[in-house]
Amino acid sequence: MADSALPAPGTIGGAIDVTPHHKAPGTFLETLHSWVVTVDHKKLGIMYVLYALVFLLVGGVEALCIRIQLGRPENHFLSPEVYNRFFTMHGTTMVFLMGMPMLVGFMNYLVPLMIGARDMAFPRLNAFSFWMTAFGGLMLYYSFIGGSGLYAAGNAPDVGWFAYAPLTARAFSPGHSTDYWTVSLLVSGVGTIGAAVNVIATVFCMRCKGMTMMRLPLFAWLSVVTSALILMAIPPLTAAQVMLMIDRYLGGHFFDTLAGGSALMWMHFFWIFGHPEVYILVMPAFAVANEVIPVFSRKPIFGYPAMVAASVGIAFVSLGVWAHHMFTVGMTSVGNAFFALSTMIVGIPTGIKIFNWLATMWGGKIRFATPMLYMTAFLFQFLMAGLTGIMLSVAPWNWQLHNSYFVVAHFHYVLVGAILFALMGGICYWYPKVTGRMLDEKLGKWGFWLLVIGFHMTFDFMHIPGLLGMPRQIYTYEAGRGWDTWNLIVSIGAFVQAAAVLLFAYNLLVSYFRGEVAGNDPWDAWTLEWATSSPPPEYNFVADPVVTSRRPLWDMKHPEDPDWKYE
C-alpha cells in the first residue's frame, strides 16, 4: 500500500492516480480481446448493463408489436403463433435478460467501489458468471432461427414466461422451442447464482478498514439481501426446469397428470421462484433510491437500521407468499387466508421504506436533477403499484381479476414504474462516474417527462380493460366490448415510452463523446466511489481507504462536523 504522508485536511494519502498514460489506444481487436478476457469488476459491470440495455430495446420492440396487435379489435398485425412467441419472449427477456443482468451489473460495478475494495472476491468467477448469463441470452434468441417447433424451422418459446404444465409436455409442445426456454434459463441462472455468491463474499470479506456492517452503504447492504434472495429463489426454478427436462427428454412423470404427476406442482415450484424474483428485481431499485435520495436531499438517509431491517424483513416474508399467484387454482380457505395475509404483511416493511425515503426528503434542500426526478417518480409509482398489489392479495378480489389486464397493469407498474425508473435514475446518477462525462441534463429531463407521460398513458389506462374483464395473453378481441378505446390509448402510450427510452439511449451515446467533463465527484456525494477518479482506474483505489462513519466523504469534506461523532 502507498504509505501516506501526514494527512492534510480531508486528504487521503496517495489516493489519486496520475500515472502518465503513454499507451496508444489499441486496435479494435486488441480492445475487444481485453474486454473478453477481463476480470475487472467495472468492465464486467459495464458489459452487464450494456447487455441489459440491448435486451431492453429487443424486449421493447416485442412489446410494441404486441401493442400494435392489441391496439385495435380484430387486428391481424401478428399471426397468433407469432403473438404467442412474442409475449413469451417479451416476459422472459425483460425478467431474465434485462432486469437481472442490469441489477447484477449495478452490483458488480458499485459494490467493490463502495466498500473500498480493489475487485470482487472472486474475479474469475465474476467473468464466468457474466459469460454464462450472456450465452444463456444468446441461446434463447437463437431459438428464433434454430428452434424447431410445431411449425417447422425457427420457433421461439411460446408457452408464456411461466411455462405452465401441462402445456410444456411433449404432446402439447412438440419440437424444441420449450427446451430452448428451459436450457437457456438454466445457463443464465447458473451465471446469476455465481454473481450472487460473489457479491455476498465481496461484502463480507473485502470491506476496507473501518467499514463495519453498520457503516456499509445501503446499496451494498441491499445487494447482499438481493444476492441472498437469488440464492434462495433461482435454485427452485433450476430444480423445476431440471424436472421439466427429465419429463421431456427422459420420459419422467413429474408434471404428467396421466401417470400420477401433478401440473399443480409446477405452479408451486415456479412461483416459489417467481415471487421472490419480484423482490430480487425491486431490491436494487430500493438500493439506488437509498443512495440517490439522500445526496439530492442533502441529508443523511433517515433510519438506516430500520432500512436494513425492513430489507431483510421483505426478503424473509417474500419467501412465504408465492401462492398468491394461485388463488384461482382452488386452495383450501386456510391456504387462501394464509397467503392473502402473508402478502399483506409485505406492505409493512415496504411502508417503512417509503416513509424513510419521505423523511429523508422532508426538510432537505432537494435538487431535482434528472436522477432525483426519476427517484421521485419511483416513489410515487411504487406506492401505487403496492396499493394495487394489496388489492390483488385479497383472495376474492383476485378471483375476479386473476389473469386479467388489471394484473398485467399491476406488475408493469412495479417493473416499469418502480424498477425501470429507479434503474434509469441510477444510470443517470453513476454515468459520470463510469464514463467521466456528465449526461446532458436537458435531454435527460425531456426523456424523463416523456417517459412519465408514456408510462402513465400506458399503465394507468391498462387497469381499466382489466377491470372490464379483458384477459391477459389474449390474441385479439371483438369490437364493442368497451375495451377498444382503452387499448388504443395504451398502445399509443407504449410508443411514447419507446420514444423516451430511445432518447435516453441517445443521451447515453451522445454524452459519452460530447458530455461535459464530470470530475471525481459531480454530485457532492458521500460514498467511497466518489473518492476516486472518473472513470476509476482498474485498481479503484491506490491506497486502501479507511472509513470512520457511514458517510466517509462527508467526514473529509466537513472535518469540523464529522459523522463519526454521532455513532
Binding site: 496520475v18 481485453s34 476480470v39 431459438s143 427436462m245 438506516y304 457532492d524 473529509m556 469534506k557
Partner: protein, 284 residues
Amino acid sequence: MSEQENHGHHSDSIHLPAPTTWPVVLAFGLALIFLGIVTNPAISILGGVLTVFGTVGWFRDVLPHERHVDVEVEVMDLNIRSTRERVARMELDKPGRYAPTETYPIVSGIKGGIAGGFAMIIPAMIYGLIAQHSIWYPINLMGGAGIANWTDTSTANIAAFHWQGLIAASVIHAITCLLVGLLYGAMLPMLPRHPIVLGGILAPVLWTGLLHAVMNIVNPVFDQRIQWGWFLISQVTFGLVAGWVVAHQSRISANRNLPLAVRMGIESPGLMQHDHDEKSEDRH
C-alpha cells in the same frame, strides 16, 4: 459541486488479478453442452471438450498461486472538499404550533376500546331480548359474518345457541374493539378539544352511516338483518364509554417534536447532537 486537489506525488505498484481466457472458455463450453441438448449431440461433445480445457486452464491460473499482474502507478494525495461549506441545521418550530404539547398515551385508547367493548354488549343484548327474544341473536349475527357457510338461514336458527357463533363473535368483537381502540388512541392528538363529542358521537354516527351505505353491496343478506337504529345505539355506547375512559386517563407530554428516529431510539448521524438534545439538524 466539489473540488479535489492533488499533491504529494510518489509512485507505487499494485497487484491485480491477471486477465484470463479460461472463464469465458468454460462458460462457452458449458453453454454448448446445453445447446447440444436442443440441437445436435456433436455440439455437446465439443462443449464437453471446451469445458475440460476451461476447467484445467482455470485451475492452473489459481494453483498453486493466483496469477497477478503488477500495475505501476504514480500517485498523489487526494484532497476532498465540498463547495458547500456551510452546514445548516434544521430549526424546529416552537412546541405546540402544530400539535398540542400534551396528549393522551396511545394505550389509553386501547383501554377505552376494551371498556367500550364491554359496554357495547349491553345494548346489543337488550336489542336481542326485545326484538328477537334471544340474547344469542346478535351474537350469531356477528359470528355468522365469520363463518362462511352461514349463507342462507332462518331467524330461528340465528336466535338459537351455537358455540361456533359464540367463539367467532367473541374473537371478532375483541379484535375489532382492540383495533378501534388503538386507532382511537392514535387519532387522539388530532381531536384534542372534545374527545367525547368527536370520538364518542360524531365518529360512530359517521361510521354507522358509512356501513349502512355500503353493507347493501358488501353483504345484502346481512344488511337485511341489521336494525340500524339499534346498531347506532351500540356504536354510540362504545364511543361514549371509550371516550369517557380516555378522558379520565392522565396526559403525557407529547414528544413528537423530536425526530422519529430519536423517539424510536435509533441512532442516526445528522439527526441528533449530543449537546442539544431536542434539536434535529440538517446539513447542506
